[in-house]
Symmetry: C2
Subunit: 369 residues, 2 copies
């Protein structure tokens, strides 16, 4: 399979927020569209928990990306206008260095020897990529979900690093309800005997724990009303009938989707990234959110959330918008009436894409002024 | 400990909806207030998944019940006016016969030998209790949560059995999102090695599975916004710090609450009742909900739901109210703006109780006409 993913190997050490460091590390990213001569048209997309760097198709890799309809020629994030960069997060297992990567000091995967990971470290590594690419200021920083946390931290640490900022279904810190969901997911994984304190292997993989954690995740990504219209109460016996389960189509759907996920994501990566989100609070050390974001220079910002999102709920979107506005940043805020919950930005193209297109049209106009 | 719980031993066999039967069985219930001479002032409360029959304190048992502020002299369900009966569901492990009860044929607990349990069976057994008590027609049937499902089935099977009907945070069938949550809870329990196909005992108890299932339940009972105000991001190391967990107060809260639950409820009872809810659809065999409820005679009905309930969501409350209204039943419908989610009827007294009081005042007035 041809891949458009590029790898930047950084040999300068990365000091981690909670102590420890990576002597060297790799970042996986993809790009679309040309960087203009004055390097002013770059759009950086910082991604959520599970996506890789392949956000959209290209000539090199025509397979659809995870944000296929959002990025491309004439798409809301228009690659005829912008040089778009999508980064796989530090800590992930999709090309960038993470707990599943080989520790150069031991020749074995890091696993639990990987230093504690924070969103601030992800942001820091992303900034090193952008610096390496010779981009002094991004046109736009884009952060959906966990990517929005990384973006806020990036902007806080580098207040003049972008002219525009689009945050989608994200938050300035992890809500206690979201912490509870992710905490239970982690408990599910480490309760699997095959987890074995991180000493799992291909043959002994925490399949049950990962499968159930993924199901819980999927529960938190959608809404009750969406599943009513999608599945209703249709019966389906796709999987061999198990005691106390698998009578309904919704159960088969979750089982199939969770099975696909189980071996596609490293359990340690999952645990590290999940915990990093819980720890994150951009206001740590500041009296409040407006003060935490006070240094950030932006021409405009756009905050989009979804009414039915229970993981990054609407009130958290409003908090970001209010804080940016109180700092004098021209900020638009939209609370979409999608039924798709947290996943809306990935699946509700019809509703989401026009809002992103409108913001990027505005950016184009503002930057011409 | 003194108990006010009474036990009715029924020796006539109960045929179960999905086949099989109970040769004899016991129902545990409590009562408050006097039954009037013409036996017309009875209020039956059918309960949710986990409550016992002790809904409120009394002289015999002064310990607070699970609906303590709702039932009593001068309370919204006023025991100076009404003879209130609270029933522990068939299938439960709190006094009524269920999978944890001793099978008279073997002298051992039923466990998986208990016949498949449906909400219709719970309703049927409740009707046998009321008949035994010599009550021909209830003044009011009250059903919160699963109890509302039982109540709908009771009324469907016995269309003239009550004059008034109060359903709270319930539904006419299980929503696919709720099925998914309960299905995952059941998977958590049966994935615990100690579950051992139902052959657990006091020493080998599915502690992990029950603990995690309870946590998932608690996640579905509340709302993100409530936990924001309640816990925020306060740190707490109440439990020994475990890898990847237990940094936040919300995590300690869930752990403590789940530990309390683990041995207080029988795993088999939990599985049977949980599955009964998923199976339930009062419209099975009818073209739609209005037709399913068409035979039911009521003077009035009251439907109360909560905007933030993700387990029995607001749209399901509206479905019941619309169906009753379309059948010409004088029905009030309230969608409360509580942050307490599905648990609001148990914990948000200030908001909930006045609505129940108003409905019972109306009932009092209607019945005098």
């Amino acid at each position: 399979m041809p891949s458009a993913t590029r790898f930047l190997h950084i040999t300068e050490p990365l000091s981690m927020k909670k102590g420890g460091h990576l002597a060297s590390f790799t970042l996986a990213y993809e790009t679309w569209g040309e960087l203009n001569p004055d390097r002013s048209n770059a759009v950086l997309i910082l991604s959520g928990l599970s996506p890789n760097a392949h956000a959209a198709s290209s000539k090199v890799d025509p397979s659809p990306g995870w944000w296929e309809t959002m990025i491309g020629p004439g798409a809301p994030i228009d690659t005829d206008r912008y040089h778009v960069i999508a980064l796989n997060s530090l800590g992930s297992c999709k090309g960038s260095t993470g707990p599943a990567s080989v520790n150069p000091e031991t020749g074995k995967p890091y696993r639990l020897d990987f230093p504690d990971l924070c969103v601030e470290d992800i942001a820091n590594s992303a900034h090193m990529l952008i610096t390496h690419l010779g981009i002094e200021q991004l046109c736009t920083m884009v952060g959906p979900s966990m990517g929005g946390m990384s973006a806020l931290s990036y902007l806080q640490q580098n207040p003049n690093s972008a002219r525009h900022f689009l945050t989608i279904s994200s938050s300035s810190n992890a809500a206690p309800f979201s912490i509870a969901i992710r905490s239970l997911q982690r408990e599910l994984i480490v309760s699997d005997r095959a987890w074995n304190e991180g000493n799992y292997d291909e043959k002994n993989w925490p399949v049950k724990g990962m499968r159930m954690a993924r199901k819980l995740g999927m529960l938190s990504y959608r809404s009750s009303e969406e599943w009513r219209t999608r599945f209703g109460r249709r019966k389906q016996d796709y999987f061999p009938t198990e005691l106390f389960g698998m009578n309904f189509e919704v159960e088969s759907y979750l089982e199939a989707a969770a099975r696909r996920f189980v071996r596609s994501f490293d359990p340690c990566s999952y645990l590290y990234l999940s915990r990093a989100m819980d720890w994150f609070d951009v206001s740590d050390g500041y009296p409040d959110l407006p003060h935490a974001l006070a240094e950030i220079n932006l021409k405009t910002a756009c905050v989009i959330g979804v009414e039915t999102d229970i993981l990054f709920p609407a009130y958290q979107q409003k908090e970001i918008a209010d804080a940016l506005r109180s700092n004098g940043i021209d900020t638009s805020f939209t609370n979409l009436e999608s039924l798709m919950g947290h996943d809306a930005f990935l699946v509700d193209d019809a509703l989401f894409n026009p809002h992103v297109a409108a913001y990027f049209d505005r950016i184009w106009f503002e930057d011409k002024l």
